[in-house]
């Protein structure tokens, strides 16, 4: 353990904050607006046509309140994937940044955790901002909804860890595009805009294999007040993602930069 972890991932976060000062603010700010635009267009716009839908407890729920938690989960995923794939890919393949870090007394787990913690910090700001929008529009009927923010961080953590692990295997920009190719359908079909019950049984099982569905169900359960044992399964899904992602990333960093 002492070979791979010096207990200083926060110094990697510090570095990212220094770098943020010189980065493109447009991209940083757009991370907040994207889900808000979806919420306005679909939730409020399309929602007037849809009316209300049936919530997890059988209660009627406004369409905006139904999709808002899904958008929160999706934005947690998108932010995490953006930071842990494109940013990390550039640093790994072109910037030689990790080579420099490895030469200090930092370990590979410090680097992996540090990058992920920074992505989470950004994710936290987005989640809080989006939560504020949801609350101000009255889209959080349940008090459990407050837990949606930590849940969004858990989701972001899982996607970051796995995203970084995947990125470490990629060598070309084309391969990086596969990630987007995979994310868009996941966003569209993970019971984001309508309940999973519209699908036939076997398609439901396929959807349930994918992480975003668990993220959406987790946050939707919290904001709409379905606080039961299913939540534990969703949480467990992300805990496993985090563990697998962290172990794989640390191994890969060691193989790539310490050969």
């Amino acid at each position: 353990m002492r070979q791979i972890y010096a207990g200083r991932p926060h110094t990697v976060v510090l570095r990212a904050l220094y770098a943020l000062k010189t980065s493109a603010w447009f991209i940083v700010v757009s991370g907040f607006f994207e889900p808000v635009f979806y919420l306005l267009a679909f939730g409020l716009g399309l929602g007037t046509l849809v009316g209300s839908v049936t919530g997890p407890l059988g209660q009627p729920v406004s369409y905006a309140a139904f999709i808002a938690p899904a958008l929160l989960a999706t934005s947690a995923m998108n932010g995490a994937i953006y930071d842990s794939t494109w940013n990390v890919f550039f640093k790994m393949r072109f910037a030689r940044l990790y080579e420099g870090m490895i030469a200090t007394s930092l370990g590979t787990l410090d680097i992996a955790l540090g990058e992920i913690m920074y992505a989470l910090l950004r994710g936290l700001v987005y989640a809080l901002a989006f939560m504020a929008v949801m609350l101000s529009l009255g889209l959080v009927p349940s008090v459990w909804g407050i837990l949606a923010v930590p849940a969004a961080l858990l989701i972001a953590f899982g996607f970051s860890a796995c995203g970084m692990a995947l990125t470490s295997y990629m060598t070309t920009f084309q391969q990086m595009d596969w990630i987007n190719f995979f994310m868009l359908p996941m966003f569209l079909f993970s019971a984001t805009f309508y309940p999973i019950t519209v699908y036939p049984e076997y398609i439901r099982w396929i959807i349930k294999l994918f992480p975003l569905w668990h993220g959406i169900e987790l946050i939707r359960g919290l904001t709409l007040g379905q606080f039961d044992v299913s939540i534990l399964w969703h949480v467990l899904y992300f805990v496993v993602m985090i563990a697998v992602g962290l172990i794989a990333t640390t191994r890969r960093l060691t193989n790539l930069f310490m050969k």
Partner: protein
């Protein structure tokens, strides 16, 4: 095994394979505290690979290696905490500014801000970048980047500074500025390990060195002792034009201790250069250009491998 306290790096049978390729082939050397130790050799000799093993970022395939008395396989991070590394290719952080590069790097070592702020300013001054402290790294020239990399390597007050081809790619003036800074470091007692394929750099900077080729050590010693052992005091360089060199070499037999025929020139190793040259001219041989100079490490390398350092 107990080692004398002043041996800071100790390698025995040190070997590194990359798949089928043996990049470093059972090398033995020791570096003493406070000395400037050189690894001289052409491209592909295994210098960087050896450096990376010393820097404890590359795992050896075989042999023994101890740095500051510790085995890097077990104490990698602890050892790295006492090293400063200037890699062959700069890996400065381009997204943050010059001074921030030092501060952030110091934080990676776990050093507190209170220590780092004055230290960063001191080092920026030492490498003569005070004007550029707030500049972005990509606005620096090659020589400035190299100096910043050296400053960064010194942020943790290392016991050993590893420099992998510190001046490759720099113009002569930038090289001399850099050499001057390295001299000062040596005077202040920092142990230096330097790889280079420039023989003048090795002669100027190194107290002792090993000559490497194809992963092996060909010779070891001080620059002067290597020259004495493997070369003559002086060298006569003759150019007759590339088509004639080989033919005329025949007629030069008997001059010096040894004659080396290169595609572009003939080298005569001798202790009496001027006299030999005069006698050659007396014989009616008319070289296009001729030159008598002192022997260098370049000649040592040629003697040992039959090739030039820089192809």
């Amino acid at each position: 095994m107990e080692k004398p306290i002043d041996i800071v790096i100790h390698a025995r049978g040190l070997t590194k394979d990359f798949g089928q390729l043996r990049a470093v082939d059972s090398v033995d050397f020791e570096v003493r505290k406070g000395e400037a130790f050189g690894l001289l050799g052409p491209n592909g000799a295994g210098k960087s690979t050896t450096m990376r093993m010393i820097a404890s970022v590359s795992k050896r395939t075989g042999g023994e290696l101890s740095i500051l008395g510790l085995d890097p396989n077990e104490y990698g991070p602890d050892i790295r905490g006492h090293l400063g590394v200037v890699p062959q290719q700069d890996n400065l952080d381009l997204e943050i500014k010059v001074r921030e590069n030092l501060i952030v790097y110091g934080r990676y070592f776990g050093l507190p801000m209170k220590f780092l702020r004055p230290k960063a300013d001191e080092l920026i001054e030492f490498v003569q970048l005070t004007e550029k402290a707030k500049a972005k790294v990509d606005t620096l020239s090659g020589g400035m980047k190299r100096r910043l990399t050296i400053a960064r390597a010194l942020i943790n007050e290392p016991d050993i500074l590893l420099l992998d081809e510190p001046t490759t790619g720099l113009d002569p003036q930038a090289r001399h500025v850099l050499w001057d800074r390295l001299f000062r470091l040596k005077e202040s007692g920092v142990t230096l390990v330097i790889t280079t394929h420039y023989m003048d750099e090795a002669e100027q900077l190194c107290d002792r060195l090993i000559v490497m080729d194809k992963g092996r050590i060909m010779a070891a010693g001080t620059p002067a002792s290597l020259i004495q052992e493997f070369s003559s005091r002086e060298v006569v360089e003759l150019r007759f034009g590339s088509d004639k060199n080989a033919r005329l070499a025949e007629q030069l037999r008997g001059f010096g201790e040894r004659i080396e025929v290169l595609p572009d020139r003939i080298l005569i190793y001798t202790d009496t250069g001027e006299e030999d040259l005069a006698r050659i001219v007396e014989r009616g041989l008319r070289p296009v250009t001729s030159l008598v100079r002192r022997s260098s490490l370049e000649d040592v390398f040629l003697r040992l491998t039959g090739r030039s350092l820089i192809e």
